[in-house]
Amino acid sequence: MITVKGLTKEFDGFRALKGLNMHVKAGEVYGFIGPNGSGKTTTMNILAGLSHPTQGECTVNGLDVTKLTHPGDLNIGYLPEDPKFYPWMTAHETLGYLSGTQNNERTGEILKWTGLLDARSRRVGGFSRGMKQRLGIGAALIRNPQLLILDEPSSALDPEGRSEVLRLIKDLKGMGKTVLFSTHILDDVERVCDTVGMIDAGEMLFEKPLAQLQKENTQPIFDIAPVHSVEPNILDALERLAGVITLTKSENNFTIKVANNTTSVSVMRFLADHEIVIESFSQRKARLEDLFLQGVSVK
């Protein structure tokens, strides 16, 4: 559905994308993750035909985006990070305008699906952020496209709004649509995605099916909270300990990824030998967040 090879984008000498590669298969929900400013929106703008790449190949829906003359030719649904509607239009009028027809049946279906049927006659200017996001997803679906590109659809929403947006994405998957959505809420990715791609500083760090990613990262993780701060040289020594794969430092604690459970014994012995008093020592499985932080710190 989407194939990207060596995608580069420059803005006034700044390289926002540095040879990005990406592949989205038909029918899957692809989670596009990365820290703020990593190039997610730039990539999505190019994929939606709204921006022109500096270099590289980019095929969406079988069309070469670099040769596109109008974004509408792609026949995809696109939801920008901050969808802008005409505040003086009602939800019903907005969908009617975007569909280009007076097909009340279609707009009615979409309003019902997005849970906005009761608000159809209200002006969009008075909508909450969550309602606007839902209307935006409805607007992306108005032409019944096979591919939807959603830029941060659940960000900046309250838990209820987020869960409603995730419900819509799951529904889209059920309809057989291909969804590419960007986010920095990793929990959302774990809940709805089939494949995950992580971008940082304009480069793809990894792109794998979520199940494979979880399988590859079954090693246990220890979150350790010391009472007092630990000397950097001690942490370096701990990182070199046999069985320790990675050590990530944060403000008041550190996280250790180990090869297997037996390593926990040597980690505890090391802490005891160095008289490090700990507040908590907990074991858990690897989350996407760990891969995200690990990926960013490795970069």
Binding site: T41, N45, A48, G49, L50, S51, H52, T69, H70, P71, G72, N75, I76, G77, Y78, P80, D82, P83, K84, F85, Y86, W88, M89, E93, G96, Y97, L98, S99, G100, T101, Q102, G136, A139, A140, I142, R143
Partner: protein, 259 residues
């Protein structure tokens, strides 16, 4: 195209743009006869009190035709400023606020979106000067007595409306080129007044859209070569500006983070 036209009509009405423009034109149309009939003689007699009042009669001896011409002179000077700043966001705001992103992705074409704006606001901006001129004609007729028929008024109003179409195209072009509503408004005024000033100075008004205003002021309906030149030039400029607008839109990047 129907949905695009409906959208522009809704915008024109709900944003109050039409009301603002109509109110301004009507205000000037109603104020001019009162100023000339009542206020001007009062001011002049007050200023010349105690002196020879023989000349006052000549100064205040206005007719309906004088009144209408006075209005036509004033309305497009003040009106151009009002139009420029009321409609300065016609294309610039759409780009700056990213409101064209969703329609573009939904398959809307630039030609249709710009065409609908030009059509709706063009018709409104032709109608508003005609309505205002008819109001001025009626009111000045009541105050000074009717002197001419309604046909020259319609003719004058139509030419003024065509000039406003030129302003509208100018606003849309500068809006797309600059992406800033206020700057688009200022540059439109600079373009319109600049053309008027330079062409008056170098005596080629007939070759510019300002020539339409000179013809409108004559209030004598004719379709001779002297009218065809400014008419043709205005149409040519409108076509050029709209072509430039569309060509720029097609090369533009969308959904940018505008500051």
């Amino acid at each position: 195209m129907r949905t695009e036209i409906t959208k522009e009509l809704q915008y024109a009405i709900r944003s109050g743009r039409v009301l603002i423009l109509l109110a301004n034109f009507l205000f000037i149309a109603l104020l001019t006869p009162v100023m000339l009939k009542v206020v001007l003689p009062m001011v002049l007699s007050g200023q010349l009190a105690g002196e020879a009042t023989q000349g006052i009669g000549g100064l205040t001896d206005m007719t309906q035709l004088d009144c209408i011409r006075n209005y036509m002179d004033d309305v497009l000077q003040i009106g151009a400023i009002i139009i420029a700043f009321t409609l300065c966001g016609l294309t610039a705001s759409e780009i700056r606020d990213n409101t064209w992103v969703l329609p573009l992705c939904a398959g809307k074409r630039f030609g249709r979106m710009v065409g609908a704006k030009l059509l709706v606001f063009g018709v409104l901006m032709v109608l508003i000067p005609i309505i205002a001129l008819l109001v001025d004609y009626g009111y000045s007729g009541l105050l000074f007595g009717f002197e001419i028929g309604a046909l020259p008024i319609l003719y004058g109003g139509l030419l003024q409306g065509l000039y406003v179409l030129f302003l509208l195209s100018c606003l849309m072009m500068w809006g797309v080129l600059l992406k800033k509503p206020i700057s688009a408004g200022f540059l439109t005024l600079a373009t319109a007044f600049g053309i008027h000033f330079i062409s008056s100075l170098l005596q080629f008004v007939e070759w510019t859209p300002s020539g339409l205003l000179a013809h409108a002021n004559k209030l004598t309906p004719t379709l001779d070569s002297t009218l065809l030149i400014p008419l043709g030039m205005t149409v040519l400029l409108i076509v050029l500006m709209i072509t430039l607008t569309l060509s720029r839109l097609k090369r533009m990047e969308w959904n940018t983070r505008n500051i």
